[in-house]
Symmetry: C2
Subunit: 342 residues, 2 copies
């Protein structure tokens, strides 16, 4: 429809924060607190304010403009695949970091929009977002207007010009996971390699640990996949080769699911016959069904740091781009244990 | 930042479709085909056009404005929980339906934005989307400007004024799944009830089938959850009650995962000792690990139909709201089988 179809829908005189305060029977400063997502507001008063906003058709975007000259008070996040749940805690951390500033989040899976976009950022640029989080591999086509805050989240091949970067140390995380398996006594360890910059670093960390242990070159298969099917196929090849592999490290939790399936089909119990370790500590890893030992890539903190970096651009528009590297942590669950005595 | 910070980033004279065609060495009509996501373009020529667009910093939004006076050429989709993967095929179907029209998709999980929004639609309204898909329970606060196409996708409690609705017949789908278990010979069947309008209809369909079979009132537990933990807790209660339940229908695939875990912890094999049926036929159901019998809620077609309804508003702005109901289909996998002979 026409631009003015939307514009005309707004009241001739958009309601102000004072109108909302009056309608809700609270102070203007309390309305501001609600807009900023402050935890220091009772549920009852928060509800009263939100209901008043709805009644008056008051849009946070009006407030946004008033508060900071922002265009939409929205941060756009570009992901690569909604099916791999690693991003859930990143969005949670981002939301918590943005809440005090009253910004919201919109997400796109750029594979969904590839048919219409030269760059997966274009949609959000057209929507006049106030900042971008790139949580997928940057491409040459990713151009950003001068002054628009951009953060590349996670270890990627290449970056976006002028963007800050926040990531966890994937190489270190994979080394931690592999050392965990070595300490349990495993000596034949396979790696289900993934695709992308993070996966490459994870494969390097896996090799680091085996080199330090002076083990023969590891079984590593996967051919750059990311899905449960990829993990299933790679683990099947490893398990059907002799001598017996007693543990596998997957490049992500989704591929680890495939390894659990491949083991089950061969009558191998996890962890008695095969230890399986994932990566990302996604919601999948914590399920009762998987109880998967995994590497916490600190995605909640990656998201929270991305929020800080985006917000700090408002006060330091010309600062140099920053790179923040966080240390991952191993989360031991039921899918890893010592190998059977030979 | 200021609105003009973004605007000024665009070339003084935005590149036209002709500039792109010239730079890519193709015809203007071929560029249009690429913009519309036509399948009838070779990968090589499509790449050439996309690269030319990137070089010239040509934004599809410019094209959108030229093509149809659209504001952002974007459809906003509001979901309730990124962790439940039922929406993946809905987005796929929506994308395929929008591609010929050159529209992109942006998604938000309204629980992420509740801190800043009176209504989960506000963000997309501020971003001037050209249409909305509401794939969560509508709330009173959901107000939409006159003339903005809105589709409520899935069976919801309540709707959005003026919105079209497209859903699958959840009551019928749950009856199909329950009849499948009855035909296999199960007589003690539990239902892990979910939350929301769709889940309520699924519980009714479950009861319909048991009533027709003249069975005693079914074991139904779940207390309105949606997560794997909810399914695990509900299935645990059912399995720890006697007499032995031999099959469970979960309100969604995520809850079914919890049922598989509860069975495993009790040494019950699926399907030999317990049949488990999910709902949504999400990517999770098709994994090698779950091989879950599930109900295909036709989410791809729900998405494709939502796209048609949104696009048809452009030609019929004043037509009455439509309600489309699709018939679900049972997808039988390895998690359901006849019960052991008593």
């Amino acid at each position: 429809m026409e631009d003015n179809a939307v514009v005309s829908s707004a009241p001739k005189h958009p309601p102000t924060i004072y109108d909302v305060a009056q309608a809700a029977g609270v102070s203007k400063s309390l309305v501001s607190l609600v807009l900023r997502g402050s935890p220091h507001v009772s549920e009852a008063r928060r509800t009263a304010v939100l209901q008043a906003m709805a009644r008056l058709d008051y849009r946070p975007s009006h407030a946004a403009a008033a508060l900071a000259g922002a265009t939409t008070r929205t941060i756009g996040v570009v992901l690569d695949d909604f099916r791999n749940l690693w991003f859930v805690s990143l969005l949670q951390g981002l939301q918590e970091g943005l809440a005090p500033h009253g910004f919201r989040i919109a997400v796109s899976d750029h594979t969904l929009n590839a048919h219409v976009e030269a760059s997966p950022l274009d949609g959000f640029l057209a929507m006049r977002v106030d900042g971008l989080v790139v949580a997928t591999e940057p491409t040459e086509a990713m151009r950003v207007p001068a002054g628009l805050p951009v953060v590349v989240a996670g270890n990627r091949q290449g970056t976006v010009p002028g963007a800050d970067v926040v990531a966890a140390d994937d190489r270190h995380g994979a080394r931690l996971a592999t050392e965990h398996l070595l300490e349990l006594g495993h000596r034949r360890i396979g790696h289900l390699t993934g695709s992308g910059g993070a996966a490459r670093l994870r494969a390097e960390g896996f090799r680091d640990a085996l080199d330090r242990a002076d083990l023969p070159s590891p079984v590593a298969r996967g051919h750059g996949g990311t899905t449960e099917q990829d993990g299933y196929a790679a683990a099947s090849r490893i398990l059907d080769d002799g001598p017996a592999t007693t543990a596998v490290l997957a490049a992500n939790d989704t591929m680890a699911m495939g390894a659990l399936a491949a083991a089950g089909e061969r009558g191998l119990r996890v962890p008695e016959d095969l230890s399986v370790v994932g990566y990302d500590d996604s919601p999948m890893a914590a399920t009762h069904l998987l109880r998967l030992t995994s590497v916490d890539g600190r995605n909640a903190e990656v998201g929270a740091t991305a929020a800080e970096l985006l917000m700090s651009r408002a006060t330091e528009p010309d600062r140099a781009a920053r790179r923040t590297l966080l240390s991952p942590a191993l989360v031991v669950r039921a899918s890893s244990a010592p190998p059977r005595p030979a």
